[in-house]
Subunit: 525 residues, 2 copies
């Protein structure tokens, strides 16, 4: 065991993961890359070679040379509407393939259908975000090998640095042609950006495009060129449109959450970043969307014209673009119909890969250019460390997303969250799991006001200067913690096992925390 | 010495190039890749790292770590208007850097300014197309190390396969932002597609963007993301607009050339490829443009709607797109103002990299999907081998361009050329230099008619079926050769030295021919 830089005890060896000696988290920007990028197997294809168009997923699996023990990857742009992961694993099981490492960008509720394949040994290991039922299974010890969680930037970093090598990438493509050119913009399963799939296409030894909208060569625009794609398969439907994109994402109507959003908006307005060129990311949650709405109001009032909006893009951001309050959108993931429509028609709405969005090991990801990001957390502790992965019962139910990346990149990282969720405090002495270290978090905003990380003296001063209607209600962290304890009453300590079921990597590939098995008696509900 | 598949004697070792034993040309599709793609050094850049924006080329050279003996690369999208190659080499010379390998996609007349740097040893080796004065210098023995010529597809193949590793890529960018995102679409030096620069950006250890149009982060659209770019330098002007793009490219008015174009057009119309979905590449020469004009007429007359136009794109292709006779354009190089305007505004006009365009060692380049290509040649011989590199005096004055790639990829490869240029025959017993093997060439069209490669019995039959106004005048190759000999009179044999001054690689990296030193008395006029 050894303590890492956020004082977590990390075993020197973790079964199913490896030695951690060289991989202890040392600080948000401590680790630098060495050596050369990994790469994929070279392939060639001439004009007389057989077509890459195959009749079924089964044929494609056979043609890819996929074997037991290999690593397969998927993107999560179809979210809870995805039909591809389940279908591919069903076919793998039928083909007698076992011990696969599943390397999705994220799994959702719909993927609970693969639980039998985990239990039967078709899937031996998962590296990727496990939202919901698979996370619950993992938390209760349902997999022999720990899950490895990486951020949106940490995942492409791991591929490019050679930590993970993808044998076969299965890429769901809402539009594709027989040459394998892919796009998410059109088709009945349109999802907009294909941002999470780019690195997989570039670094996998074999790439299979699965589409329900096959077009003549070449489609336009093209997100991922067919030069990376070995096989193209037409399937009936790649996903359920209702699960892929939501209707218009909605601002919260809850007065408590609106109050939090109002506080956050005041903090941004008081900060030095609220000026022409302001860039920000707010994501799709109720509070962040409300912050966007308040910022829009403030930008209009103070005649501030923003620069770019980043990340998962919603209709709220599209409106800001249309109204000239933002000049560009950089879109790694399109959350709703408005975003899909916009990325398909407006050249100022730029599709970016997850590498481009957030990888710390390239020549400069978009998150580095970010002024402000609004994030959530299940817990924040007295060192401003944030937990987004585990719930109060210790269950590993959420992925990291872009949390680490934007927190590290943005000039002002705000966690906006109610002080309690039900009876459970969001401010604690020490978070159950460190997802993002306090050094990357600048402020916590709750219904009781704005709590600024003491290392950001400049922000505290800036808030002090805001007066009258613009005054920012500052609350020290210890006062907030006291209040949380009073309100929640005594919490019984969490009983957990020794067995490590999950590894949380910092975006640079070091281990920032581990997640241990939980016991059924913890489970809240 | 050993004979390769086109019966050229290739020395087993070539000074300054290496052993050729494993690299003898074996046939257009014989060689397949093995192993993994090469890669670039990993770099990282965090939000607190110093800016990548530097004040001068000199500073950028210093920051890049460029040292004597290294390899530097450039693209030729600024063509004969390029100011960057000369400027960078001047600064390298001032910095005392020597023995550089210059790896441009192509050099033009304007680059004769680097001849002093070749003579003084700043540049030791050139790998790339040498059009004009540098070719003349090389031909006369002005460089110690032979020039290596590669096709537009062969060059990215060489980089991706690791045959060439780029230490520093200097990328002229008509538009860029401080994050290094680049585009050729806008700015006073707009050149449209940046197709030749993509692979360099992805595989170089250090990438420097040089721009005369610096914009706020992020520009849109973005061709090459800043994630690959280490440094950004603002320079006064990157090029001379008159040399970068031409005004409207023009169809020939020469009756002889128009006749050739008419014959070629009839051949295409008689071929099985003249139907809906027809894809073709014609380039920017006078005859090919006339073929485009005739094909447009034929497509309208026979109500054929084409698929895509490929390659270097001209206003003629843009017109076909606008009129609905082509559905898409795939643009590796924009030849004129109309093409630049179109790629900037029409999403059906797709920017493609040279790798995507033509690399034989990826999962399928665009050339593979091509139905018809019209090419030129300085000579074609009795085996249909074509020479595009050397002139009648043996001087190495032209690059390969996409000749090999499109010839290998297209279903119908036509060389359209007058039988004589001045008194010099274009059909000869054996070409001076084999650029493209006869197995990849289907027809030669001269003012005397259409000569079909006998291995294309199907085409000969198809032409035989075309009657009346559509009749295709067929001429056997030996009759054409006889006629050429009669018309040109006896040619004195070319005297050349033993020393190898140039290597012509086939697109798969094998040696298809070598070019030897010429003597001044050869030089015509």
């Amino acid at each position: 065991m050894a303590l890492n830089a956020v004082k977590r005890d990390i075993p020197s060896r973790i079964e199913g993961y490896g030695n951690t000696g060289e991989k202890l988290f040392e600080g948000a920007f401590a680790r630098k890359p060495e050596g050369f990028r990994a790469s994929a197997m070279m392939r060639s294809r001439g004009p007389n070679d057989p077509t890459k168009f195959l009749g079924s997923v089964k044929e494609a699996i056979a043609a890819s040379g996929l074997k037991s023990g290999m690593t397969i990857s998927f993107h999560h742009h179809l979210r809870n509407g995805d039909f591809i992961v389940n279908q591919v694993l069903d076919e793998c099981a039928k083909a007698g393939i076992r011990d696969l490492t599943l390397f999705p960008t994220a799994l959702f509720g719909v993927h609970k259908a693969i639980i039998p394949h985990i239990k039967s040994g078709v899937v031996r290991r998962i590296m990727g975000s496990v939202n919901g039922p698979i996370g619950q299974l993992v938390s209760e010890g349902g997999m022999e090998v720990p899950v490895v969680l990486r951020s949106h930037g940490g995942r492409p970093r791991a591929v490019i640095a050679g930590d993970v090598h993808i044998d076969v990438a299965f890429i769901a493509a809402p539009t594709a042609d027989v040459g394998g050119n892919m796009s998410g913009r059109a088709g009945k399963s349109a999802c907009g950006s294909l941002g999470y799939a780019f690195t997989d296409a570039e670094y996998a030894n074999c790439v299979i495009a699965l589409t329900d909208n096959l077009q003549h060569y070449p489609i336009a625009p093209i997100s991922i060129p067919g030069t990376f794609v070995d096989f193209v398969v037409q399937v009936g439907v790649i996903g359920d449109p209702d699960g892929i994109v939501s209707g218009t994402t909605r601002v919260t109507r809850d007065p408590l959450r609106l109050l939090i959003a109002r506080h956050a908006s005041k903090l941004i307005e008081a900060s030095p970043y609220f000026k022409d060129g302001l860039s920000f990311q707010t994501g799709a949650g109720g509070i962040p969307l409300a912050v966007t709405a308040f910022m829009k109001e403030a930008m209009k009032r103070r005649r501030v014209r923003g620069g770019f909006g980043l990340g998962g893009i919603t209709g709220y951001f599209v409106d800001l673009l249309k109204e000239g309050l933002l000049k560009k959108l950089m879109d790694v993931q399109s959350f709703d119909h408005e975003a899909v429509e916009s990325i398909s028609s407006d050249p100022r709405h730029i599709e970016i890969s997850a590498d481009w969005y957030a990888n710390p090991w390239n020549c400069g990801a978009a998150v580095n250019e970010l002024d402000v990001v609004i994030l959530g957390a299940t817990e924040v502790d007295m060192n401003f460390n944030a937990n987004v992965n585990t719930e109060a019962d210790g269950a590993l139910l959420h992925g990291i997303g872009g949390h680490q990346d934007t927190a590290a990149g943005a000039k002002l990282t705000i966690i906006a969250q109610p002080l309690l969720r039900g009876r459970i405090p969001c401010v604690v002495d020490s978070v159950h799991t460190v997802t993002t270290p306090g050094e990357a978090i600048d402020a916590l905003v709750t219904e009781f006001g704005v709590t600024i990380n003491p290392r950001r003296r400049d922000l505290i001063d800036a808030c002090g200067e805001a007066k009258g209607k613009n005054a920012v209600p500052l609350v020290p962290l210890d006062e907030l913690a006291e209040r949380a304890k009073r309100m929640s009453g005594p919490m019984s300590p969490l009983r957990q096992g020794d067995r490590i079921v999950g590894i949380v990597e910092w975006r640079d590939g070091t281990v920032i925390d581990v997640v241990r098995q939980i016991f059924p008696e913890n489970i809240s509900s």
